[in-house]
Symmetry: C2
Subunit: 255 residues, 2 copies
Amino acid sequence: MNINYNKLSKCVKGTSVPKPLSGTLSGHAAGEPFDKHVYNEIKKQLPKNTFRQYEYLNDLFNKNPTIIGFEARQALFNSPTVLFLLSRGKNATDKWSIENPFEEKQNDTADILVVKNEFYEIIDIKTRNISKSSQPPNIISAFKLAQVCAKMLDNKEFNTFTINYFEIDWQLVKEKLVCNDTHFACLFKAQPNNLYINWAAAMQIQFHVQDLDQTFKGTLEHWAKIYLKHFVTQAKKRADDMITKFVKPFEKYIK
Amino acid sequence: MNINYNKLSKCVKGTSVPKPLSGTLSGHAAGEPFDKHVYNEIKKQLPKNTFRQYEYLNDLFNKNPTIIGFEARQALFNSPTVLFLLSRGKNATDKWSIENPFEEKQNDTADILVVKNEFYEIIDIKTRNISKSSQPPNIISAFKLAQVCAKMLDNKEFNTFTINYFEIDWQLVKEKLVCNDTHFACLFKAQPNNLYINWAAAMQIQFHVQDLDQTFKGTLEHWAKIYLKHFVTQAKKRADDMITKFVKPFEKYIK
């Protein structure tokens, strides 16, 4: 990891952003202005290495103006796993040009990307209104993570990237959102077996960063294998649960 | 049906609402101001019969001040199916009082409710930015609709309610959203077999109101049975698809 999260935490705690003019304070969107704040602080630590995901892609393609088309541009990534996590679709990549760069996309994997010495640190910012109890937020698609693990194992790629989460706890104080605590967690230090998959909510893994255990001591290879076993077990269970919940109770009406 | 949708359409076409100050124009939320507009027009047609869902519940409980507690308040509905569609949970209903009425809830079934002669007309407003091609919106949970159909059949209740959709097509013209077309469809006039269930998106049925066929000529009882058969078939298919997509490809990594 290249970011100093202790330092980041000190810079962010106690700061505030204006209350959004419209929308409710219940959604995750309310804390979004903090995201910019965190980006600026990380950029202070690593000015040449800090990007938005779309910025990084624009930068990469800009530096290689003679590389054109989807497959050639895909080859600019030296890591198949990072390629899978960060690249855009074929159509969008084919159409990319200096005059027609990528823009921010809501379901991009990374809020912030720090790239240094061929190592990709993916950071996802989660903001949380601590005045209300709330459902754990969507973290990443459990299926996407399974595909990532399979790619890591296929390519024996265990030292090229990591996925980190940074939670900002805020409260409304006199028309301002004030950050009164932050939490950091690395996905690959959590016990993969404990990750909760919400199948009904687009198969999203959900947790509050604050509550994520950080007790896994094994290698990333080991993590990927345990996660895949967990994912497959949970997928089988969900398939069984669907029959119990959505088929059995209604069979008597359709004979 | 008590609402005159042709008249409603004439009142709404060509009208405009101010562009929202913040947020993007891509989400379904952008057209929300039109919802108020439609509500006001329906209220003009049926001033004593038009409600927001929470208004109706507040009104019902206000008129029966001596009826207290969840079960007694549930009994105020003369239709078990409508009760299931419109009522709030046990805890919220227990806590209800004149001083602590219900407020609007994002996942309420009805945007607008017209109640006349013991018949409930549920109206859901869908707004659509026609400058962009967009995914069909979430209509209703396929599981919730299956439960509704089961209740209808259990209680032989086929004349107490309907569910209608009203689509407002708008375009941004000089900082205003202008409605240039509207579409109306009744859920129970669509072929139940054709309803698309997006299992990954919280099991939501999805369609553009404009594209919904209105060719079903049978009874509501028949509709309910065909829908339940469709739902069960699709649930079984989804359970099978989950094994194919989420279990099989990953088995080689976990032996």
